[in-house]
Amino acid sequence: MILFIDMMNSIREFLDTGGQVLTVIAAVIALMWLLIFERLAFVLFGYRAMKNNIVNRWFAREERRSWNAEQIRMATVSKASSALNHNIALIQSLVVLCPLLGLLGTVTGMIEVFDVMAISGSGNARSMASGVSRATIPTMAGMVGSLSGVFMVTYFQRYAKRQTELLEDKLLMQH
């Protein structure tokens, strides 16, 4: 329990030194990883069942050569593809947002530094330190957040593309 309180305190302190922007970045990263975990769960468990279902239904059809069959196949593939691509664009935009928010934090931190300069009228390094930490910590957090997401997003995009192609190959037409 004490360990937990200690941890919460240090996190709170970190968020305080980073300023409000850091809180926003934390929320964005949390949302991003929530979506990433949802995608991971779909890739690992949901998609396999869905694919088997589609393939079984396709081969259960008696007739697989008419225009109707072709259209139905295309519709099935596109449904699967849209399920695979679900939320990926959102995750990607969150990945892009992280460094932008970091930049926002940098600028607000710099404003604070110049505020201190305007009030104290001198370049006292110690009094500017809080502003400088508010400028640098969000930048770092934004970078780390977007880097952590970039790999996952690329993986999901490639996975969706490959699986769509594989599905197209699997649903054979009779000629």
Binding site: A69, S78, V96, T108, I111, F114, D115
Partner: protein, 456 residues
């Protein structure tokens, strides 16, 4: 020598008079000849006058001699008096030095003590002025003031009572700084009204009332609510302190005794910050508002269309109120068309629907790109202002440059603040509209095929 000066003065006076008389007569002169005539007459009059004056001076000369003699006499008398007084002064001086020496000898170590007392009284006074304990116990510094002054003058000695009073005040400050006290007092609220409130004092650190931090202003002996309060987390602890009468509470105190809290007032509010951005800042905000309105309109309409399309997917009969329904109707409109014609007709009707779904999404995208660019523009204009200030006033005073720099930074912030949600919103809207278009493009044919198979 004296005579010469007199003569010179007389001459000067005569000249001035001539000039005056000529000046007055010159006004009446009709022509140059007449003027010359007048001048000549004036000269004659002047010489006569001068002669009369000289006679007068000579007559008064003996009178002046008598006066001189009298003055010399007076001077001699005064000199005599002065030497007498000087002698007396030196005697007095000697006596005074002796007396002072005697006093010093008798005072002995007491003199040092009085010096220390004066210094301590002065220090304590300035300490009490800054201490929040003075809000509870007022009028302490007037005694200290009198005490320090009387210690400074040599004619007065400190009484035992006074010394004990100083000790008492110091001890009281020390004891009170270890206590949390609660007392009724008149306070000035942030809006300027005065009320009596129950004030809680935490040692010599902070004053709290009604869950707000207070400051003590020693010049007017007033307790005022801070115009800007610290963040809610700290205010909550202050509220907790006001509400509990005993027991332990966590409290965020300002260890500097209020000087950190008073700096809060100097930090500009959000509104003032936005104003620092200048016209460029307002342009960015306006663009952001336009983008927000478009986004809200798009969200609502795409949500409604999406719901209708979903209903259509489940319904058997195509309906006219949604894009998918209109595309599916193509099949009913051309019941006898062959597959290729049907496909062409389908894609044609889909092409009619796409612009409605994607309209105005580009504007949001553009805003998300343009807002940081305008922010950059503001940055550059702000820097231009800064450099103008530098060329005018030099780099000596950072305060002069602060205006331009804050404009530069605030516009960048505003640009990012507008761009970040716009990027997010445009992704969301794009996904939604692409989802609907996807249903139209790739599934409408499938749905038709499915239905015709089932119907067959």
């Amino acid at each position: 020598m004296m005579k010469f000066t007199f003569n010179k003065k007389a001459l000067l006076a005569g000249f001035a008079m001539t000039a005056l008389s000529v000046g007055s007569q010159a006004n009446d002169a009709k022509n140059l000849d007449e003027l010359l005539n007048q001048l000549a007459q004036g000269q004659i009059a002047q010489t006569e006058q001068n002669k009369a004056r000289e006679a007068q001076f000579v007559a008064r000369k003996s009178e002046q001699d008598a006066l001189l003699k009298q003055a010399v006499n007076q001077r001699d008398n005064q000199i005599k008096l002065s030497t007498e007084l000087e002698g007396q002064f030196q005697d007095n001086e000697l006596a005074l030095a002796n007396q002072t020496e005697a006093l010093n000898k008798r005072l002995g170590e007491l003199k040092e003590l009085f010096g220390v007392l004066q210094q301590v009284a002065g220090d304590t006074k300035s300490k009490f002025q800054n201490s929040v304990i003075s809000a509870q116990i007022s009028g302490r510094d007037s005694f200290l003031d009198d005490f320090a002054q009387s210690m400074g003058s040599t004619s007065k000695l400190a009484s035992i009572e006074e010394i004990e009073q100083l000790w008492f005040e110091l001890q009281r400050e020390m004891t009170q700084s270890g206590k949390i006290a609660s007392f009724e007092r008149e306070i000035v609220l942030a809006d300027g009204t005065r009320t009596t409130a129950n004030v809680k004092r935490v040692g010599s650190f902070n004053l709290v009332a009604n869950g707000k931090y207070l400051e003590y202003i020693s010049e007017t002996d007033a307790v005022a609510e801070l115009v800007r309060q610290p963040v809610n987390r700290y205010l909550d602890s202050a509220k907790e302190l006001t509400n509990t009468s005993n027991g332990q509470v966590a409290f965020a105190l300002d260890p500097t005794g209020g000087s950190i809290l008073s700096l809060l007032i100097q930090a500009p509010s959000d509104r003032e910050r936005v104003d620092q951005g200048g016209p460029v800042g307002y342009v960015i905000i306006a663009i952001g508002l336009v983008g927000l309105l478009i986004a809200i309109e798009r969200f609502i309409s795409l949500f409604l269309i999406g719901a209708k399309v979903n209903r259509q997917l489940k319904a058997a009969k195509p309906r006219d109120d949604n894009p998918l329904g209109r595309v599916l109707k193509v099949k009913e409109q051309y019941p006898n068309a062959d597959t290729e014609t049907l496909e062409l007709k389908l894609s044609e009707s889909i092409l009619r629907e796409v612009p409605k779904l994607q309209s105005r999404l580009t504007i949001i995208k553009i805003i998300s790109v343009v807002a940081p660019l305008i922010g950059l523009l503001g940055t550059v204009t702000g820097m231009i202002n800064t450099f103008q200030a530098i060329t005018l006033f030099g780099t000596g005073d950072p305060k002069l440059m602060a205006g331009g720099i804050s404009q530069a930074l605030v516009t960048t912030v505003l640009g990012l603040v507008v761009a970040i949600p716009m990027v997010f919103i445009s992704t969301l809207l794009n996904t939604r509209s692409k989802g609907i278009i996807n249903i139209l493009q790739q599934q409408s044919a499938g749905i038709i095929a499915n239905r015709s198979e089932k119907g067959a």
